[in-house]
């Protein structure tokens, strides 16, 4: 079974953001996995690109950073070397340079450090749910999903609560820069030339840079040593510390990557609980071990970071296709996560799926999501708290998706809840 939406005839144009406004074109991905696993797409306003859609291929190539490099950009857009240098973060580097930065920031996001946040996350979830559920009928995307990652990032970065909404709005402008609801400078429609050296080719990036700089200076002046920022700025065992530029870029990356991804996963989960009430029942009556597996299944299901791009550093051949040096290759994680040659019944949500070797976090390569332990914990705790409080959740209006082929998911989800 695949889930088919109107307009997805199996030949959706993957470079067109409008192909994703009803959710990912899964019917097209299924056809590509079957018939054309390394497919060429003409790029429209950009150079064309290759799409890798099979689980096994992505797993095999993702670790081969010598052949398929992150160091010429990780989004579809073409950028000059000058633009690349001005805008890059460690996500846009390859080992060994990448390894160096990753070692410096990794500890702050490691599983044991993140596990220490469970209490804080639970308190935030209580606060958020008390506010949202009191209304009985509300937009779960903005009242629940958007709130938790935003407030949590505020906690771990030590950002004052009054700045949070501004910060997340800027983060959305960076990532969802193809949806007119989130930006005044729609990437594929307006002229963004003036912003080409700014992070994500967006003026919001420059504002975030300035904010990050001030935040660190203020904290230093106060002698504030709380939170992840401090931990990140500490020298490691070898005495190295990340540079100010690296830090500033990294801050933008966190605000961008740490918000909408978890948000869309939460919305996908709540949407699933509303449309398949038996799932809510399983969470409420199932064994406790269901909480070891449920979050990852929702993350696989949502796959909010639909693709990341690499660039070929040499010619190579795969499935009869000739990729040339300099060509862009997209890893469609969202497609790999529905590949039935790897997953049993990939189009079903199985909250006890184990093992669940999905690739929503970019598994199989050095760039595997730095925030994965945080995301997993936030999703588990929020769903635990939600399941404790509600008898039922029903959709009370149509849901809507972000206009993007990059990071996407449900941006509006009207629901009605009955409390226990």
């Amino acid at each position: 079974m695949t889930i088919r939406h109107p307009g997805d005839d199996g030949f959706s144009n993957l470079s067109d953001h409008d192909s994703f406004i009803h959710g990912p074109p899964h019917h097209t991905f299924a056809r590509l996995r079957r018939e054309d696993p390394l497919a060429w797409t003409d790029g429209g306003q950009f150079k064309g690109f290759w799409s890798m859609t099979r689980y096994a291929d992505i797993m095999e190539y993702n670790r081969n950073t010598r052949l398929l490099s992150s160091a010429q950009g990780i989004r579809i857009e073409d950028q000059s070397h000058e633009e690349y240098l001005a805008r890059r973060t460690f996500q846009e580097t390859d080992p060994p340079e990448h390894t160096h930065t990753r070692m410096l920031v990794g500890k702050a996001f490691s599983k044991p450090v993140i596990a220490g946040f469970e209490g804080i996350i639970r308190r935030l979830c209580e606060e958020i749910l008390d506010q949202a559920l009191a209304q009985k009928e509300f937009d779960a995307a903005s009242m629940i999903s958007r709130q938790l990652p935003m407030r949590m990032l505020g906690q771990i970065l030590g950002i004052p609560p009054e700045d949070l909404d501004w910060l997340v709005t800027k983060g959305d402008e960076l990532i969802a820069n193809t949806d007119p609801e989130y930006t005044e400078h729609v990437l594929d429609k307006d002229d963004t030339e003036a912003f080409r050296l700014m992070p994500f080719r967006s003026p919001a990036g420059a504002e975030l840079y300035r904010y990050a700089k001030r935040l660190v200076e203020d904290k230093a002046a106060r002698g504030d040593t709380d939170g992840v920022l401090h931990l990140m700025l500490q020298p490691n065992a070898q005495g190295d510390r990340i540079s100010d530029d690296e830090f500033r870029n990294f801050f933008c990356l966190l605000v961008a990557a740490g918000n909408d991804t978890t948000r869309y996963t939460l919305s996908a989960a709540i949407h699933a609980l509303a449309s398949q009430p038996e799932l809510l029942g399983q969470l409420q009556q199932g064994q406790d071990t269901i909480w070891d597996t449920a979050a990852d299944e929702f993350i696989r299901w949502a796959s909010p970071t639909m693709h990341f791009r690499r660039t070929a550093t040499a010619d190579f051949e795969l499935h009869g296709r000739k990729v040339r040096e300099g060509d862009k290759v997209l890893y469609w994680f969202v497609s790999g996560n529905r590949d039935d040659s790897w997953f049993d019944r990939p189009f079903e949500i199985d909250l006890c799926r184990s093992p669940n070797r999905h690739m929503a976090f970019g598994q199989g390569g050095p760039h595997i999501c730095l925030g994965m332990w945080l995301a997993r914990l936030e999703i588990r705790v929020l769903l635990q708290e939600l399941a404790m409080r509600v008898k039922s959740i029903r959709q009370s209006g149509d849901h809507e998706y972000v206009r993007s082929n990059f990071v996407g998911g449900i941006k509006r989800l009207p629901v009605r809840v009955v409390l226990k």
Partner: protein, 106 residues
């Protein structure tokens, strides 16, 4: 082929013949060893392939480099003197009979 054994406290041992040239993380996954996930594919980015090496075998598994050492600070179960990230150890005939202990999270 090289014989490797994974001991899982309170559970059965898993033992198997492993093809030389694979690393110990790939070998664990091929044998469905629980708690070894190897999520970054052996790129030293995840620390989800942590094992304790039976002390008498430790030297045979070779030296720990700086990156592995830093990543060992990020494991779920706290590192010990015998800790290795199993993606960093290549299976070779000299390791025939190797015994590993799988760290079990709380």
């Amino acid at each position: 082929m090289t014989r490797i054994t994974w001991k899982i406290e309170g559970d059965r041992d898993i033992s198997g013949e492993v093809e030389d040239g694979l690393n110990l993380m790939e070998a664990a996954i091929a044998h469905d060893v629980p708690y070894i996930y190897g999520e970054c594919g052996g790129c030293l980015s995840c620390a989800t392939c942590h094992v304790f090496v039976e002390p008498e075998w430790l030297e045979m598994t070779g030296p720990v480099d700086d990156v592995e050492d830093a990543m060992l600070e990020m494991t779920d179960v706290e590192r010990r003197k015998t800790s290795r990230l199993s993606c960093q150890v290549e299976v070779s005939p000299e390791l025939d009979g190797l015994v590993l202990h799988v760290p079990i999270p709380e």
